[in-house]
């Protein structure tokens, strides 16, 4: 049984349908990349999985249990954590306070404040700074670490290298490798296709609210991805 499965998952914003019958799965401990252009529905899909958008019961299931109707705060306690697009750190809280808020679900597991500081020593140095006063790359690390404090089994990452320098972007992806070594499954939304394929074992490519291509990241055909990404068939 897969860790995460979506069954004909659809989503609407009013009359606008953003997702059409999405079927996707993530196995335990696996890294899966979700690629696609702006407006393809990647963020909507992650929000539906995290519970920021509600669907019907078995449209989203975690280890065979239907969670599609559960609000986000319940899904966190079941092991689904989202690193939201744009980081969304709490601006009146320090780094450490942001991290502590991440353990509000009280889900047990290996990630504690000490463990996070051990893995990301740079966060220990800035722990008393206001979170939104950090550099973009450091803020992204805080956002990832904050989600880890909930001890997720599945970490959803939305555009975690967007707007970062190449160096910071590499650091963020290195952090993801640590997370994966820990046995946490990752579903990664990424604009940089090559980077996405390098970090993941499988990928899905989305366009206009549908999955148009999927396969193994190692054997992916870049030309084919580019075609499906833009929907241009020469």
């Amino acid at each position: 049984m897969s860790l995460l499965e979506t069954n004909n998952l659809s989503a609407n914003y009013g009359l606008f349908q953003a997702l059409f019958s999405i079927n996707l799965r993530v196995e335990d401990g696996e890294a899966v990349a979700l690629i696609g252009s702006n407006g393809a529905g990647k963020t909507t899909l992650l929000k539906s999985i995290a519970g920021d958008l509600l669907s019907y019961g078995n449209a989203v299931s975690l280890e065979g249990t239907a969670v599609g109707k559960l609000p986000a705060y319940v899904r966190v306690s079941k092991g689904i954590s989202l690193v939201p697009e744009g980081r969304r750190l709490f601006s009146s809280l320090t780094v450490e306070e942001n991290l502590l808020l991440g353990q509000s679900s009280k889900r047990p597991g290996p990630w504690t404040l000490a463990r996070v500081y051990d893995v990301f020593p740079v966060l220990y140095q800035v722990r008393r700074n206001m979170a939104t006063a950090l550099s973009g790359g450091q803020q992204q690390l805080v956002a990832i670490a904050r989600a880890l404090m909930g001890n997720p089994r599945l970490l959803l990452c939305d555009e975690i290298s967007l707007g970062l320098s190449p160096v910071a972007s590499n650091q963020v992806h290195d952090a993801l490798k640590v997370v994966l070594d820990e046995g946490v499954a990752v579903l990664l939304v990424e604009q940089n296709i090559q980077k996405a394929l390098k970090t993941s074992t499988r990928f899905y490519c989305m366009r206009k609210g549908e999955i148009v291509l999927n396969g193994n990241s190692a054997t992916a055909d870049l030309d084919e991805i580019t075609r499906e990404y833009f929907g241009v068939y020469a």
Binding site: A50, Y73, S77, F90, L93, S104, S105, G150
Partner: protein, 289 residues
């Protein structure tokens, strides 16, 4: 000389009372983005509660806080959980309309139940009429106690917000409610607890205000107005701004009364008007979003 000094001191004491009433408004707006138009009427309701309890148990009104505070907190929790929660999520208008409606319903229900009579909360003469003479200036015991309690409440709330996990959650919710959900917290319950806190503060302010000045079931809106002026002068959502705003308003009112009895509310409104012109965002802007 001592007369004007007394006026200034009384202004500060009165301002502390306005700040205590305004604090609930400030938290409600800062954390939940709700402006409760029935804030003043709930304060009158709490004062009625205090009146009833003190008559029933034959105790000093000041002692009734031990009953009024928890009762109001429970009322605040239930009201947020089951009524106000339904008004959120579709813009600022629904909560305004619902609290406006509650204000009218409360005023009329209280008038029906308790008549339109003017009441004062009964308290011992030593407290309500007593005063200390310091160097020719007489300081009322009740206003002094009110001010000390107000300062203690502000300080302990500051500690709670900065040092405890509950305070951390309140600040985070004030920053970004939907991200709080992603941390595994039920934001509806966070709001309900915040509302319980607000209502407990309303209960506390009600007892002090009720001993100080007479009230009727229709006094709520006027008191809301003063509290509002304190909050806006201090800066929406800023806790310490509310304290300073309240003191500015109290000073302005007392200086007005020093010039001519009956000028008090007028000079208070003038000060508010001038403050709005000079500092439209209030003294401390929006430090809590």
């Amino acid at each position: 000389m001592s007369a004007i000094l007394e006026s200034l001191l009384n202004g500060i004491f009165l301002g502390a009372l306005y700040a205590m009433i305004g604090l609930g408004l400030s938290i409600g707006f800062g954390v939940m983005n709700i402006v409760n138009l029935a804030h003043g009427d709930f304060m009158i309701l709490a004062a009625m509660m205090s009146y009833g309890i003190s008559a029933w148990l034959k105790i000093d009104a000041i002692t009734t806080v031990i009953f009024v505070l928890p009762l109001m907190a429970v009322l605040g929790y239930l009201l947020q959980r089951f009524v106000m929660s339904r008004t959120l999520g579709s813009g600022p208008l629904p909560p305004l309309l619902v609290t406006f409606g509650m204000s009218i319903v409360l005023q009329n229900t209280m008038q029906e139940l308790f008549t339109a009579d003017t009441r004062v909360l009964p308290s011992s003469d030593a407290l309500s009429g007593g005063s200390l003479g310091v160097g020719g200036v007489s300081i009322g015991l009740l206003p002094l106690l009110t001010t000390v309690v107000t300062l203690a409440v502000f300080a302990s709330l500051e500690l709670m917000l900065r040092r405890t996990s509950a305070g951390r959650i309140l600040r985070a919710t004030s920053d970004d409610r939907s991200t709080v959900r992603l941390m595994g917290l039920n934001d509806g319950r966070v709001f309900a607890y915040a509302s319980a806190l607000v209502f407990a503060l309303v209960g506390l302010a009600a007892v002090f205000y009720g001993i100080r000045s007479p009230f009727t079931p229709a006094s709520g809106p006027e008191r809301l107005l003063f509290a509002f002026e304190a909050v806006v002068m201090g800066g929406l959502g800023s806790m310490w701004g509310t304290l300073l705003g309240g003191i500015m308003l109290g000073l302005a009112q007392m200086l007005g009364e020093y010039i001519h009895t009956g000028y008090g509310p007028f000079t208070g409104h003038v000060a508010f008007f001038v403050a709005l012109l000079v500092l439209p965002n209030g003294l401390f802007g929006r430090s809590i979003k």
